[in-house]
Amino acid sequence: MKILVPVKRVVDFNVQIRVKSDGSGVDIAKAKMSMNPFDEIAIEEALRLQEAGKASEVVLVSIGPAQAAETIRTGLSMGADRGILVRSEAPVEPLAVAKILKAVVEEEGPGLIILGKQAIDDDSNQTGQMLAGLLGWAQATFASKLEVDGAYFKVTREIDGGLQTVRLKAPAIVTTDLRLNEPRYASLPNIMKAKKKPIVERAAELYGVDLAPRLEVLRTTEPPGRKAGVKVKDVAELVSRLRNEAGVI
């Protein structure tokens, strides 16, 4: 079984982003970029399945600018076998990403696709579910445990109120939550090896997908700020203020 893992290049999760004062967007020109953390978890899970003899090949795909090749390379250093870069300089919305991925899936024929549950830049949380809908495949989002069970996958999902376990018919789509695993660091020998692993590059336009955004971003603004309040000296003062000033207890 081949596993396909789509990955996204995003602003590093440690960077405090800055909203441009003219409302035109978020200033990411000089920001440190990294792989979306949920996608690292997706790669880790794919590699563990491969190491357990459940998967033959782990293929990464990224849709983005030339620099997204670095993101793919990061995943190859973790241990994935090869990469596909679908070049697009302009941002691509989740729906168009899902359509391009569908075309990639038809070429590659994976038995399992593992994606991050959301990208930490636009926080859309859509691509995996959309791809499952377009392909007509089973889906299990927000996975905290994944097992291969013959021609099925058994997935435990994080849901409101607890955990749910579902059984999916293969081929299927799984999106990762935080507690699925802890991604490995790339070792030096693997980093060296990754330099020789192939990354095929294609133009997004080749897939015949309409890339025009459906959502027009009118403006981007800072959220309303919240000011620090007062420090109270002890519990008695806290209770008194919550009761008499804030009126919440």
């Binding site: 602003v11 405090q16 982003i17 978020v26 919305e93 729906l95 899902a98 930490i120 830049d121 926080d123 859309s124 949380n125 859509q126 579910q129 959309m130 809908g133 377009l134 007509g136 495949w137 889906q139 927000f142 905290s144 849901i159 409101d160 109120g161 607890g162 955990l163 749910q164 579902v166 059984r167 999916l168 018919k169 299927a172 935080l178 507690r179 955004p213 459906r214 959502l215 027009e216 971003v217 009118l218 403006r219 981007t220 603004t221 959220p223 919240r226 620090a228 309040g229 007062v230 420090k231 109270v232 519990v235 008695a236 806290l238 209770v239 203020r241 919550l242 804030a246 919440v248 207890i249």
Partner: protein
């Protein structure tokens, strides 16, 4: 022009988040029908029928809708799609799972977790963990929207809409339910709790959650939350997590205990009306958003707070 609101419910009754998402759905300006898909879900449908401003309730009652499986529910919504211009649902785990699948089937770009309806085609939504707010205008003929319910007021009762049965759509049969582990207790759910008491890495163990956080929460009739650090460390179950990748809450009172205030966590609670922070580190970022900060050892301050509230008859 009609809007279809997808109801969050537990079959017997409706969840509060539905009444908040109804407020957002009504702001689109079209009549609102409510879809209750479940098994033996007449109770939830009748509750929805009483909400103010609901034109009609569609009840799809079938075993396929018993367990939150995305594929049959998406197929059902798609079968109803010709009659509607907008599909709105609260951003709960059920609908975060199913709505993008619906959007793809309808060839629509979903608008996730809106916090404001600016116009029927224009919405505000947070990006970068709430560190920026985007105003987006949808060019799609049909709209698929999830609602961050904490930012909308609840719609009250006062209606008497008819409840109509709708046929189940063909189940694609791609997945099946194996089991679930859902906490059963009498505490309010985070999404609708008036007060939330949350613990962080400073709690150091799950036993300390039981010993310090839960008694305070129970005294206040509060929901219990946790930071991602506390959940990752195994101090608290995953469904307690408040933050960018957990639950986003906006209670009247949020008490953060032993939580430093990582961006990730602030994204999930900074819209609370009143924030209290108890932390022994006076420089913790949580104090920058707290209305009332107490720099203290939580292992002394929290039992004292629980006791003081007890004296007030709480």
């Amino acid at each position: 022009m009609t809007t279809l609101l997808l109801a969050e419910h537990d079959h017997a009754s409706l969840k509060d988040v539905t009444t908040k998402a109804l407020t957002a759905a009504a702001q689109l300006g079209a009549p609102v029908d409510v879809l209750v898909a479940g098994e033996n879900a007449r109770g939830a449908a009748e509750a929805a029928a009483k909400l103010s401003g609901v034109a009609k309730v569609l009840l799809a009652d079938a075993p396929a809708y018993a367990h939150d499986l995305a594929e049959p529910l998406a197929a059902l919504v798609r079968s109803l799609a010709p009659g509607y211009d907008a599909f709105v649902a609260p951003a709960t785990s059920r609908f975060k799972n199913v709505m993008p699948r619906v959007a793809a089937l309808l060839d629509v770009m979903q608008i996730s977790e809106i916090i404001k309806v600016v116009a029927p085609d224009t919405f505000e939504r947070p990006i970068y963990a709430g560190n920026a707010i985007q105003t987006v205008k949808s060019r799609d003929a049909k709209k698929v929207i999830t609602v961050r319910s904490s930012t909308f007021a609840a719609t009250g009762e006062g209606g008497s809409a008819p409840v109509e049965a709708v046929a189940a759509a063909a189940d694609p049969g791609l997945s099946s339910f194996v089991g679930e582990r859902v906490a059963r207790n009498n505490r309010p759910e985070l999404a609708s709790a008036r007060v939330i008491v949350s613990g962080g890495r400073g709690m150091r163990s799950s036993a300390n959650f039981t010993k310090y956080i839960e008694p305070l929460a129970d005294r206040l009739g509060a929901g219990v939350g946790a930071s991602r650090a506390a959940v990752d460390s195994g101090f608290a179950p995953n469904d307690w997590q408040v933050g960018q990748t957990g639950k986003v809450v906006a209670p009247e009172l949020y008490i953060a205990i032993g939580i430093s205030g990582a961006i990730q966590h602030l994204a999930g609670m900074k819209d609370s009306k009143v924030i209290v922070a108890i932390n022994k580190d006076a420089d913790a970022p949580i104090f920058q958003v707290a209305d009332y900060g107490l720099v203290a050892d939580l292992y002394e301050a929290v039992p004292e707070l629980t006791e003081e509230l007890g004296k007030l008859g709480r």
